[in-house]
């Protein structure tokens, strides 16, 4: 792919070397070629080409929107008017959204060409993209591996060159982990930075929409286009969006080198793959050499992250998924011949047939921790520990501007290897969930590869609403990784 990033495509468009239509056609052909990866759940070739041609006309007259030519895939959990949205679940079979998610609407207005929807774990619950009614996605870097999850399709689409960028969602690491496993850039913005309106809720106090891209610059452009307060989301923050550094200039990289970077030792303990550890240590060494201050910081409550996260997230999920009953929309089982059906049976049949195994497991866990007699021991307790985890971050950010950590403890997930061990799967989210618990932004960048061909990712965590520093540092570290 000649113009894998939107940044390079935009420059080529400006020079008249290509057209939006040509770029879109190239991606559509690639999608057709890579169908076996099972990445897209829906492709709107006609709509994408129509938009592309329209933009080519606008480019000719100088009226094109700023992101004209950006070919964007969208995770199948975001609503796009008149498109199906299934969340990779049988439960939403046949459902078509009647409105645009705010983030999608904003990107569309700025010129994004929506090319299709990407596969994911059912209702974004999973870390391998194997919990999907469409079947698993194959990792384009090594096809016997999973792409990670839950935004596995989005990460794979970007890695396989099937779009410039894809939107994903991140509740406990669902953008960052697949970005690392597929070797692309993935941003989980600050909670509240991007409106959640139109994002099918998994865990409302954690869910974030973010971009997966082939460059830090593209991630910054897309964030700037979709960020900002939304009257449809009471938890969207009225914090101004910093003007994104266009092209992430040398000056920006210099500023990155002036930062203080923290290394939390709790993220480098037992269980971390040694190649990942060495790669990160090597790059930290170069960062120090480039002038950055690198120091150890303490995040003592990290080890409680998984327990806290899975209590709160499953509780919220059990509530958010209560609406799926096949009565007003979605999956309704065939009538069993009885004219009058017990209300409980009506619900139980639709929900048991419509939801997959992992979703049902999480609904059960979440219902349990909220049920009478257990609320204080689990839910309220976890809410308190969440505050302690946030405190860890606040304290660390008094000393440093960003944290550097691994993304996953393991180099990759072989297809089928974890599907039957839920707790083991949950534990693999150890490095990503605390950012969601604290609401801070996280940027994942590729910094190398294992011998297997699987990429190695690195995670940068920043202060709330300070994505700018992450972009600068990320750009710098990607450069350092190449040197």
């Amino acid at each position: 792919m000649r113009w894998a990033t939107f940044g390079s495509t935009r420059a080529a468009l400006a020079r008249g070397e290509t057209t939006c239509e040509a770029v879109t056609t190239t991606f559509l052909r690639a999608i057709a070629r890579k169908r076996h990866l099972n990445i897209y759940t829906y492709v709107d070739a006609e709509g994408a080409l129509r938009t592309a041609r329209e933009q080519d006309r606008q480019l000719a007259t100088g009226e094109a929107p700023p992101l004209a030519g950006l070919v964007l895939a969208v995770k199948d959990v975001l609503c796009i008017r008149n498109w199906p949205v299934t969340c990779a679940s049988r439960m939403l079979d046949g459902f078509n959204a009647v409105y645009d998610a705010t983030a999608v609407a904003r990107l569309r207005r700025q010129g994004a060409i929506l090319i299709g929807r990407t596969n994911c774990d059912e209702f974004a619950m999973g870390s391998s993209n194997e919990n999907s009614c469409y079947g698993p996605v194959l990792n384009p870097r090594n096809e016997i591996y999973a792409p990670g999850g839950s935004s596995g399709g989005s990460a794979a689409a970007v890695a396989a060159g099937l779009c410039h960028a894809a939107l994903g969602t991140d509740t406990g690491g669902s953008i960052r982990q697949p970005a690392a496993l597929c070797g692309v850039v993935g941003l989980k913005p600050t909670y509240g930075r991007v409106s959640r309106y139109g994002l099918v809720a998994f865990a409302s106090s954690f869910d974030c929409i973010g971009p997966l891209t082939n460059s830090v610059e593209d991630a910054a452009l897309i964030l700037a286009a979709m960020a900002g307060v939304d009257e449809r989301d009471a938890t969207s923050a009225p914090v101004p969006v910093a003007p994104e550094p266009v092209g992430l200039t040398d000056a920006a990289r210099c500023a990155g080198a002036a930062l203080r970077v923290g290394v939390p030792k709790e993220f480098f303990g037992e269980g971390l793959d040694s190649t990942i550890r060495c790669s990160i240590e090597a790059i930290l060494h170069r960062l120090r050499a480039a002038g950055a201050v690198v120091k150890d910081v303490a995040m003592p409550h990290t080890r409680y992250g998984i327990a806290t996260y899975y209590i709160l997230a499953t509780a919220e999920a059990s509530s958010n998924l209560g609406r799926y009953d096949g009565l007003r929309y979605g999956y309704r089982p065939a009538p069993d011949g009885r004219k009058r059906i017990d209300l409980h049976a009506l619900y139980a049949q639709a929900r048991s047939e419509g939801f997959g195994k992992e979703v049902k497991r999480r609904i059960m866990l979440g219902t349990y921790v909220l049920s009478s007699g257990y609320y204080d021991a689990y839910y309220a307790k976890a809410q308190r520990v969440r505050a302690l985890i946030r405190e860890d971050f606040d304290k660390a950010f008094q000393e440093v501007d960003a944290l550097v950590t691994p993304v996953t403890p393991v180099p990759g997930i072989k297809l089928g290897s974890m599907i039957n061990s839920p707790l083991k799967m949950y534990l693999s989210d150890i490095y990503t969930v605390t950012a969601n618990l604290a609401g801070v932004p996280g940027l994942v960048i590729p910094i190398g590869a294992h011998a297997s061909g699987l990429p190695i990712g690195l995670q940068l965590l920043g202060r709330p609403f300070d994505e700018t520093h992450l972009f600068r540092l990320g750009e710098l570290m990607m450069q350092l990784a190449k040197d």
Partner: protein, 483 residues
């Protein structure tokens, strides 16, 4: 029944008169075609989010202040989970641990304490009787704002429960926050009823009665349920804690299917909705806009205006009537030669409670038939003696259809009576001079013959003299020593 005390607590739901719904901008108006006031939020579509309507908070604070409640500076919206086809999200947004108002009271002769007032959203409507094989759903009402008012178990009879409800209805109508219409369901009430042997005894096992949609039903249902519980107790049994439905056709309460009674609502703070904030300034601003409430008005009418308690009760029952009465009184006091406040108030009260209320009852939708200013002119005319009591009624009817002040219309229709001494005295003298025998009889003690003289004088004026004044003048002339 004398040996048992009845203990009742009420949960009153009051639908608020807002333009849009509690958490979404679709119309909250009553009476639309089915499913014509439903936006994706009301439908519980995937990805939708609630945003609180400011006016709902204002209305809650209004009712809180009017019931002397403590207004929480911060209160929390929570999710209450249960499954029912007309509850699209699988949960109702309500308040649980931190309601907006606590600890108020309402006086109904006795003081009835309020546990709390909280904000919640209404559910849709299920129609079970339209089709033998299915249930139909109209979701227009989903998300319409409600206030739930919960009393302490302070009510001691069905009559008190009904009085309390009427008081609440009066209050919400005064405050302009609800139409308080029980038949249309904008005021709904569930009653928790128990009995106990002595007033100090611990509370007995309670039952909850639902489905009472008029003040009469509330009284009947509670009476029935109390009698039933007494029956059970006298037979040596114990009341089971259960939910009863009032059947208005059979005039009895019967238990709901016990299967659905095990409630485990799994409340937790709604992560989509930040806390509600009511600053002391906002509270003061709302307080400044509160109308004078019925209790205060009642007291003022009795003490300041000298009205009988009965008049005060009738006049203050509905705010528009009280406002009208006060406008009439103000206009009357501004007229030349108006007597003291008490006399004016009584005169205005007589007209408002008599002629005006009668006309309103005959045609409730037409509004006040005569403007306050014009009604004052009628009261003024009456107090001056220029019109008889029967003339007042006739004149009022004429004023409803004709233009002009009371005096102008009275003149047009010859309704004025002569009460001017200058005109009356010569005729009185003439009548006495023409009937010396009767004068003699009067002076020798047959006082009743004065009626004869009054008739003669009235005759001289063709019936249009003021009989009261004529009597005064005759007595004066007859009782003075003979010339």
């Amino acid at each position: 029944m004398a040996s048992y005390e009845t203990v009742i607590g009420l949960e009153v739901h009051c639908q608020l008169q807002t333009h849009s719904k509690a958490f979404s901008p679709d119309s909250a108006a009553f009476g639309a075609r089915p499913n014509h006031h439903v936006d994706p939020v009301s439908l519980g579509h995937p990805g939708t989010l609630p945003v609180l309507n400011r006016r709902v908070v204002d209305f809650a604070v209004r009712l809180g202040l009017a019931t002397h409640s403590r207004i929480a500076p911060r209160s929390v919206l929570a999710r209450k989970h249960y499954f029912y086809p007309d509850l699209p999200k699988g949960y109702q947004i309500s308040q649980f641990e931190d309601p907006i108002c606590t600890g108020g009271y309402v006086d109904i002769g006795r003081r009835i304490r309020l546990t709390r007032i909280h904000i919640e959203e209404d559910a849709g409507k299920s129609l079970h009787d339209q089709d033998p094989e299915s249930t139909l759903l109209d979701l227009n009402r989903c998300g319409v704002p409600l206030l739930e008012i919960v009393t302490e178990p302070d009510l001691r009879s069905a009559r008190e429960a009904s009085l309390f409800l009427q008081k609440v209805r009066q209050l919400v109508r005064y405050l302009g926050i609800s139409d308080g219409n029980m038949e249309e369901g904008s005021l709904r009430c569930d009653a928790n009823v128990s009995i106990r042997k002595a007033s100090r005894a611990p509370l007995g096992v309670k039952t909850e009665i639902k489905n009472m949609n008029s003040f009469r039903h509330v009284e009947r249902a509670i009476e029935y349920e109390v009698a039933r519980q007494v029956c059970v107790a006298k037979a040596g049994g114990t009341t089971r804690e259960q939910t009863m439905l009032w059947d208005p056709i059979r005039q009895e309460t019967r238990p709901m299917r016990s299967k659905e009674q095990a409630h485990d609502y799994r409340y937790f703070p709604d992560p989509d909705l930040p806390p509600i904030v009511v600053t002391p300034e906002a509270c003061a601003a709302i307080k400044a806009t509160l109308p004078e409430l019925p209790d205060a008005r009642h007291t003022r009418y009795v003490t300041d205006l000298g009205l009988p308690a009965y008049d005060a009760g009738v006049l203050t029952d509905e705010r528009p009537l009280a406002d009208y009465f006060e406008a009439v009184l103000a206009a009357l006091l501004a007229l030349d030669g108006a007597p003291g406040v008490h006399a004016c108030a009584k005169a205005a009260s007589n007209l408002v409670m008599g002629d005006v209320l009668r006309a309103l009852k005959a045609n409730p939708s037409a509004g006040f038939p005569v403007s306050a200013q014009r009604l004052a002119s009628l009261a003024h005319l009456r107090m001056s003696g220029a019109i008889s009591s029967s003339g007042v009624q006739e004149l009022f009817m004429l004023m409803m259809t004709q233009k002009g002040t009371a005096k102008e219309i009275a003149m047009r229709h010859n309704l004025l009576q002569v009460s001017d001494d200058a005109a009356l005295i010569p005729v009185v003298a003439q009548v006495l001079a023409a009937n010396p025998m009767q004068v003699e009889q009067y002076r020798s003690g047959k006082k009743s013959i004065i009626g004869f003289f009054i008739g003669q004088v009235m005759h001289g004026f063709e019936g249009s003299a003021d009989p009261k004044r004529v009597r005064v003048l005759l007595s004066k002339a007859l009782d003075s020593p003979a010339p």
